[in-house]
Symmetry: C2
Subunit: 228 residues, 2 copies
């Protein structure tokens, strides 16, 4: 079972002796305020995208004065970076969980475990994939990717892609799924897994049950349609 | 080959004798202005979502005075409805194209044709799927779907779903793809087809070619991984 810990970063502002007032505020509010802001930011960015969110909205969601966000994080872009970074710990746990599924003896069980792990992780932490889709939509018809999206692609998505492709290649070599060029199959697999979780309300509308209750049906559908 | 005609609706304002000024403006600007506004609206909604777009932005994109939009369409919600309706003609052609692929003698060719038709249509008219993803993201964590999303689900998506599921069921019955509960498989298939087109810039970043050039590779990857 995956566990997705909350983030408890150190407040770097504590080490800046020049900002007496900031230090006092940070001592008073502590890491839990930082965490509350980061979680509110992730949720808001996931729902409305970077441009659709103001620091003021995030402040209301987090139950803090919006100047406190500027104090803790600086600009909206800085907050975005910090919010994505705050998920890094979860991702490491996710990558570790995926590696462990690679140890199963039966390759079919192994493939199933991988699919289920990805589904469960995405359901528990849907914000990064949602943010990813927002950036994809905004940049889709742009002449040039925004710096933000470019960094998302080069840092986070490239790393994720490498690990998933390794697991899919193993499944192909074991004859569990069809031999398809991996760079093309990545998108097929990724869409097959993510789509239902992203369009959760469409799934709930047509299936009549909360998205959390379709983990097994969704896993079975993916394994059943890809595995030989 | 699919052809996606521009929309040429009648301007209903012409039949409202009470609005002399409006009639004169409509006569002067004609359906081409309406069309330009609708196309600009679709593009803007697809990129930024309903909330991320102002009538003023659409007016700039369409190269018209923003009061002309209010004159032609009324509110932003009315413009949204008109823009989605303007795609209706394309959708009918798409549904017809899909039906024709159902006539092929070889079920595997038939399945391949369906997949390619959906990919080509989505590439030619990505705005409705993009708008759909925006609505999915906004409503994902909402307690209750917005009226706009609810109508999208009940009207357009339900109809699309019915036709795609019929084709997928035929492919299952012909033994081309695995027997998987169709309500679950719909999301797997839909994600497999749409994802790469939505995250077009990610595809371009990693594949190094424009999204339009991966139609065959993407079709092959889907058919190769699902078909038996």
């Amino acid at each position: 079972m995956l566990r997705f810990p909350d983030c408890h970063e150190q407040d770097e502002t504590l080490s800046q002796p020049a900002h007496r007032l900031k230090v006092r505020a940070a001592l008073r509010d502590g890491p839990s305020t930082r965490r509350r802001i980061l979680m509110a930011a992730l949720k808001a960015f996931a729902r409305h995208g970077f441009d659709g969110v103001s620091l003021r909205t995030i402040a209301v969601e987090a139950g803090v004065n919006h100047q406190l966000i500027a104090h803790h994080f600086g600009s909206k872009q800085d907050l975005w970076d910090a919010a994505l970074e705050a998920r890094q710990e979860d991702f490491q746990e996710f990558h570790q969980a995926l590696s462990i599924t690679g140890d199963s003896s039966d390759p079919r069980d192994q493939f199933r475990s991988c699919v289920k792990t990805i589904i469960k992780f995405t359901l528990a932490s849907p914000d990064i994939p949602c943010i990813h889709y927002h950036e994809a939509l905004i940049n889709r018809s742009a002449r040039k990717n925004s710096d933000r999206y470019q960094r998302l692609l080069e840092d986070r998505i490239a790393r994720y892609r490498t690990q998933i492709q390794r697991l899919l290649t193993q499944a192909m070599e074991a004859g569990i799924i069809a031999q398809v060029p991996i760079d093309d199959f990545f998108f097929v697999f990724q869409g097959a897994v993510l789509h239902r979780i992203i369009v959760a309300k469409e799934s709930e509308h047509f299936a009549g049950v909360p998205i959390e209750e379709v983990v097994d049906a969704h896993t079975d559908a993916i394994v059943g349609s890809f595995a030989r």
